[in-house]
């Protein structure tokens, strides 16, 4: 179904349709003019041949002379035919040309009828000529032709009635009777020409609409092509910028970690020395240096991980491991944090849990981050880790659910927490510390291994994080991203 065109486009299509129609009409007029030019010459030659054959000589007793019909065929026929034939070649398509041709064609008919001695068969030349003139698809051209026929009959009826009507005195309107038969044919030709013209107009409108559609499509394609090219450039620029950023971060992280490790290590040594010498104030200061260094190191490691993921350089190293072992390691890691905030933890690992084939380091990091967050934001509360087997349409999976009785989050906060450098609110960083990278890394590691993380929470109701990872990551993710260990 075609949708209606806007007004400006409709006007443009209508104008183009008019142009196409005019061009098409001009082509038809020109073509028919040339056909008539040829016909005129052929008629001229035919008239001469006919005159030479039928009445070559006029006799006066035993003396003969060239018959006047021969001269008439040569000179009069030539006069009638050659001028319009010339116009048909030199001025094809001009209205004056076809009107002249119409008049000439009828005059030639009169001459031919005369040369054949008024044979009734030759009168068909008139009717045939009218039909031929209809080739112009211009009904107005029939008017001069009909007028010539009517005038011919009128004048001959007035001056030589016997030669036309066979009687010495013809009725006043006898010529009109003959002209009426010509008009009779004109009516059918008029209807035919009008229909053909209407079809031409219809074709012109359709063609104009099609052209408009093609033009619009071409413009849209050009626009789309330009946009795609711009997008490619932008994408390349973005990729280059990301690459540069990742290279920079990787490089800077490396450059930062080396001295930072030294700072942490020496602050530990100095702290131990200060404690040995009972220098409590100094030991406290060194403890703060060590704590700040560890925090900075954690931040740098997170940034490095994120930059690797975003640069597409983070690979997955698959190996078979026991889930319980990983859970146990994680609990050992976060035990100090649990104790610090006086939280209780309960761990429920389903008995049916089998071994996983995944990246153990990333799995461990996911659990450390989630449990670490729970321990950090909950004070004197309960933290639960449930590990379950899961089977769904994507296959077998392991589900880790970390629940806490902490402050909980609003829906807006939940929507932002997986973005890097984002925490529930600005006060969070001030009250609880952290870089805002933990959950972002959890989310990206889950995606990297073909899993996901989700959160359910409400303010004052605690939070519940659910991580689902494929039991065999190799079944789910593209092998190309896997760094088979």
């Amino acid at each position: 179904m075609t949708s209606p065109l806007p007004l400006a486009e409709s006007v443009s299509v209508a104008r183009r349709a008019d142009e196409l129609l005019a061009q098409s009409q001009h082509d038809i007029h020109s073509r028919t003019d040339r056909l008539f030019a040829l016909l005129m010459v052929l008629q001229w030659i035919a008239g001469i041949v006919f005159a030479l054959w039928v009445s070559p000589l006029a006799w006066y007793g035993t003396v003969s002379r060239t018959h006047i019909h021969v001269w008439a065929a040569i000179f009069l026929g030539g006069g009638i035919c050659l001028f319009p034939a010339l116009l048909g070649v030199l001025r094809a398509g001009e209205p004056s040309t076809r009107y002249t041709i119409a008049v000439a064609q009828m005059l030639m008919g009169a001459l031919l009828i005369h040369l054949t001695g008024g044979r009734i068969e030759t009168h068909f030349h008139v009717f045939g000529s009218l039909a031929f003139l209809a080739f112009y698809r211009d009904w107005k051209v029939l008017i001069p032709a009909t007028v010539v026929v009517a005038l011919d009959h009128y004048l001959r009826g007035a001056f030589w009635p016997q030669s036309v009507y066979g009687v010495l005195v013809a009725g006043q309107w006898r010529w009109a009777e003959h002209a009426a038969w010509v008009l009779f044919e004109d009516i059918f030709l008029f209807v035919s020409v009008r229909r053909a013209s209407a079809e031409m107009k219809d074709i012109a409108i359709r063609t104009a609409a099609l052209e408009q559609e093609v033009r619009t499509r071409q413009l849209a394609e050009m626009e789309a092509s330009k946009t795609a090219a711009q997008l490619r450039v932008t994408q390349q620029q973005a990729e280059a910028a990301t690459q540069a950023k990742s290279d920079f971060l990787a490089s800077m992280s490396h450059e930062l970690r080396t001295p930072l490790n030294a700072i942490i290590l020496y602050s530990e040594l100095l702290q131990e020395e200060a404690e040995d010498r009972q220098q409590v104030a100094t030991a406290g200061d060194l403890q703060r240096i060590q704590s700040a260094g560890n925090h900075l190191l954690e931040l740098i490691n997170g940034i490095l991980d994120l930059s690797k993921i975003e640069a597409g350089k983070m690979t997955v190293s698959l190996e078979h491991f026991d889930v319980r072992g990983v859970v146990s390691d994680v609990l050992d890691t976060i035990a100090p944090l649990l104790q610090k905030n006086e939280n209780r933890i309960s761990v429920n690992v389903a008995e049916t849990i089998g071994p996983m084939h995944a990246d153990i380091m990333k799995t461990r990091q996911i659990l450390v981050n989630l449990l670490g967050n729970a321990a950090k934001f909950t004070h004197g509360g309960n933290i639960t880790l449930d590990v379950q087997q899961s089977v769904n349409s994507s296959g077998h999976g392991i589900v880790f659910i970390v629940s806490d009785t902490g402050p909980g989050m609003t829906e807006e906060q939940q929507a932002r927490i997986f973005e890097p450098f984002t925490q529930a609110d600005v006060k969070t960083t001030r009250n609880y510390g952290g870089s805002g990278l933990g959950l972002a890394i959890v989310s990206r590691f889950c995606n990297l291994m073909g899993g996901y993380v989700s959160v359910e929470s409400a303010p004052g109701q605690g939070s519940r994080f659910t991580v689902r990872l494929p039991q065999d990551v190799a079944d789910v993710i593209d092998v190309a991203t896997v760094d088979a260990a």
């Binding site: 039928v54 009445s55 070559p56 000589l57 006029a58 006799w59 006066y60 007793g61 035993t62 003396v63 003969s64 018959h67 006047i68 019909h69 008439a72 000179f75 009069l76 006069g79 009638i80 001028f83 004056s96 002249t100 008049v103 000439a104 005059l107 009169a110 001459l111 005369h114 001695g117 008024g118 044979r119 009734i120 001959r156 001056f159 030589w160 016997q162 030669s163 036309v164 009507y165 066979g166 009687v167 010495l168």
Partner: protein, 199 residues
């Protein structure tokens, strides 16, 4: 002084052309509608004629120049008259044969055409002796004498030179032969002169 535009020149040329061809057609029409010299026919059947008039039916005499192309139409009309008339006249078609012409000069398609008309007696008229008996001057001249030998019709049986179709002479003869009453005794004759001026 401004020069006329191309359009004006073209219009003038078209008008000139139209006037020229209409004048030309007028000349041809005028020529073909100009009758030949009418016969000074004897009111009674010429006694010196070698042709025998019928005493029971009308006798029709048609004079033809064997080379005259215009006479072809007249012969067609003669055949038409004879086929449509209720009374069949005794019909002679005289074909001129000047002695100065070579043998077979008169053997043309016109003679064959006349011979093909049923009941027509085709006669070679040496030096136009018989034609002169009837006072004929123009090819296509037709005479009709009744059974008593009285001239009832003299004239042509075409509407113009070499022009076939219904015409006054034809209709008059058909009426006379069918109803016995003449509509007109004399009509114009269209055809070639039988004799040159010097003849």
């Amino acid at each position: 002084m401004a020069f006329p535009t191309k359009r004006v020149w073209l219009t003038a040329l078209a008008v000139f052309w139209l006037c020229g061809v209409v004048s030309g057609l007028w000349v041809v029409w005028a020529y073909d509608n100009r009758p030949g010299v009418a016969a000074n026919a004897p009111a009674r059947w010429p006694s010196a004629s070698a042709l025998a008039a019928s005493a029971t039916t009308p006798t029709l005499v048609f004079v033809a120049h064997p080379q005259c192309s215009c006479t072809r139409a007249s012969l067609d009309e003669l055949a038409e008259i004879l086929s449509r008339a209720r009374t069949r006249p005794r019909t002679y078609v005289l074909f001129l044969k000047p002695s100065s012409t070579e043998a077979g000069w008169e053997q043309t398609d016109l003679l064959k055409r006349a011979t093909a008309i049923p009941g027509v007696r085709v006669v070679r008229d040496d030096d136009g002796v018989e034609a002169r008996q009837f006072g004929a001057e123009t090819s296509g001249q037709t005479f009709l004498y009744d059974a008593r030998g009285t001239l009832t019709f003299s004239g042509g049986i075409t509407g113009s030179r070499g022009h076939s179709g219904e015409n006054d002479g034809e209709l008059t003869l058909i009426a006379m032969l069918s109803q016995g009453q003449p509509r007109q005794r004399v009509t114009s004759v269209f055809g070639c002169p039988l004799f040159a001026t010097s003849e």
